[in-house]
């Protein structure tokens, strides 16, 4: 216990030192460049402060986060069953397997023009992009995780009398959880990327749009401030959601702690 606490403190310390060094280097570079194109850390901090105080930043973070949560939830709810079906049903695999692979190769932002033609400049249009971005990696990872469940695990369950839905929900899917969770994590990064791309192109609130505003006004400090906000959003979700899940999976399934 005390060991892990002290190693955590050590890690915190190195992270802190690393940030100090980075900020110092950035500050020196900004001093040397002396140009509005490379604002100093202080300028960016001020920009963050101003946009936070006016509420612009929080509104943008809120809008983006809400879109992310909704789109990601849909992708998860559809992607896991889709992947399980692809792994377990020859008919489904033959019918839509190539389609899923093909769609997976297309960056989801490519669907934005079509989505706008179909749904107009609406939330639905941008959700289509987010969902498509996250759904395919989640489905592909789930398919692979389910098809790689050790045959002896499933055979053991069948000799105990498990079959059909019982086998799927109480044995196969739990056995595939580490792989599905890796896919879910990948899906999350894809959702974030798709959302930022979508918001940059399609002006309607969110962090992407704030980036565009910064560029329009030639406000490099604001652009960098928003980039930092995106990094923070990604890291907070990672630390608050995915790290605990990973630790729990490592504890129970015995997978290596990543």
């Amino acid at each position: 216990m005390s060991e892990s606490a002290s190693s955590l403190r050590d890690r915190g310390k190195t992270a802190f030192l690393r940030s100090i060094v980075l900020i110092a280097l950035w500050w020196l570079a900004a001093r040397a460049a002396d140009s509005p194109l490379l604002p100093s850390p202080a300028d960016v901090a001020q920009s963050i402060w101003i946009s936070a105080k006016s509420g612009v930043l929080f509104r943008a973070v809120g809008t983006s986060a809400a879109r992310l949560v909704v789109g990601y939830a849909i992708a998860l709810l559809a992607g896991v069953p889709l992947g399980a079906l692809l792994a377990r049903s020859r008919v489904v695999k033959n019918a839509i397997g190539p389609l899923v692979l093909g769609l997976g190769a297309v960056p989801s932002i490519c669907w934005l023009p079509l989505a706008i033609l179909w749904f107009g400049l609406t939330e639905t249009a941008i959700q289509v992009v987010v969902v498509l971005g996250a759904l395919l990696p989640i489905a592909t990872a789930t398919e692979s995780a389910v098809s790689h469940v050790s045959p002896s695990i499933e055979r053991a369950a069948r000799t105990m009398g498990a079959s059909g839905a019982t086998l799927l929900f109480r044995v196969t899917l739990p056995a595939a959880v580490p792989g599905i969770s890796a896919g879910a994590k990948l899906g999350w990064t894809f959702a974030l990327r798709s959302l930022m791309a979508g918001e940059l192109l399609f002006v309607s609130g969110g962090l992407g749009q704030l980036l565009e505003t910064g560029r329009d006004m030639g406000d490099t400090a604001l652009v960098l401030a928003v980039v930092l906000a995106v990094v923070a959003l990604a890291r907070v979700c990672e630390l608050a959601l995915f790290s605990p899940i990973d630790r729990e999976i490592a504890r129970r399934w015995g997978t290596a702690n990543a």
């Binding site: 050790s150 002896s152 695990i153 055979r155 053991a156 069948r158 000799t159 105990m160 009398g161 498990a162 019982t166 044995v171 739990p174 056995a175 959880v177 504890r251 129970r252 399934w253 015995g254």
Partner: protein
């Protein structure tokens, strides 16, 4: 601590008493019977592989039979046919009086890799088949405890499989297989991946469990010593096609030990009987390289 061990030996005592009673009322008739069973695996290039050819074998109730043979002699296939996991191409398979149509809780299997569910603790693993069979919670808990005590793993009940040694995992798998009180226990090289000392300990454990529960056991191995150490009868199998070469009765007193002179002598005889087959496999595999 003392309390736990005390309860443990009591549980085992109960099992012994139960077994003695059970032995008296054992009904006649084989526990497993195979009639002219053949099994062909279709390969992708259209050809067929005869994994089992015309196997006829009966295993009596309470008997411990070892299937001994070189790699590829169809031992696992035969076990899986009895388990109902593989359908034979022809012939008839019965467990007790019933035809085998698929897997069922009357025939439990212990696999080489234990196949414990990694997301469950040891206790939850042993409880799993009982939950599937809708055994009420009180009874389930009592049964899990007596099974884990039977295999000396009660102290480790809260561990996940990855926190156990290979030998502990196999003992856990045996406890789980015994959970629904199956008529037959099928073991496919359960100790194949373990070191010699652990294996020796587990042999004693299997012997003890067999005499305590009087379960019919079909035990696959490619170790001659293991077969002689454990079996009432040894079925010697050969390759290409997988078939029965001979059946040896092991009439040695129990408990046995791998270092016993009689065990070593019989192992030598059994070894000689399959040496030709092992040679054949080795030659074939060399020829292919």
């Amino acid at each position: 601590m003392n309390g736990l061990f005390g309860a443990g030996s009591r549980a085992l005592g109960d099992a012994d008493a139960h077994a003695r009673e059970g032995a008296k009322v054992v009904t006649a008739g084989p526990a497993i019977s195979l009639d002219h069973v053949s099994c062909v695996f279709q390969s992708k290039n259209g050809g067929g592989q005869l994994a089992l050819e015309d196997i006829s074998l009966t295993v009596d109730q309470g008997e411990l039979v070892c299937l001994l043979g070189p790699s590829g002699s169809g031992k696992s296939t035969l076990l899986n046919v009895v388990a109902g996991l593989v359908k034979p191409s022809s012939g008839r398979v019965r467990a007790g009086a019933e035809d085998v149509l698929g897997p069922g809780p009357d025939r439990a299997v212990v696999f080489q890799d234990a196949a414990l569910f990694p997301w469950l603790t040891l206790e939850e693993n042993v409880a799993f088949p009982l939950k599937l069979a809708a055994v009420p919670e009180d009874e389930r808990n009592a049964r899990v405890e007596s099974l884990l005590r039977l295999v000396h793993l009660w102290h480790f009940r809260d561990r996940h499989p990855h926190e156990l040694s290979g030998g502990m995992r196999q003992r856990g798998a045996i406890a789980r297989a015994l959970a629904n009180d199956p008529a037959v226990l099928l073991l496919d090289e359960p100790f194949g991946a373990l070191d010699a000392q652990t294996r020796e300990l587990l042999h004693a454990e299997v012997e003890r469990i067999h005499s305590a529960t009087r379960k019919t056991m079909l035990f696959v191995t490619h170790s001659v010593i293991e077969a002689v150490r454990l079996a009432d009868r040894i079925v010697l199998m050969g390759t290409r096609p997988g078939r029965i070469l001979d059946v040896l009765t092991v009439d040695l007193p129990r408990p046995r030990h791998s270092a016993d002179a009689e065990v070593a002598e019989l192992a030598l005889r059994a070894g000689a009987a399959i040496a030709r087959e092992v040679d054949k496999v080795a030659r074939e595999e060399e020829g292919r390289v």
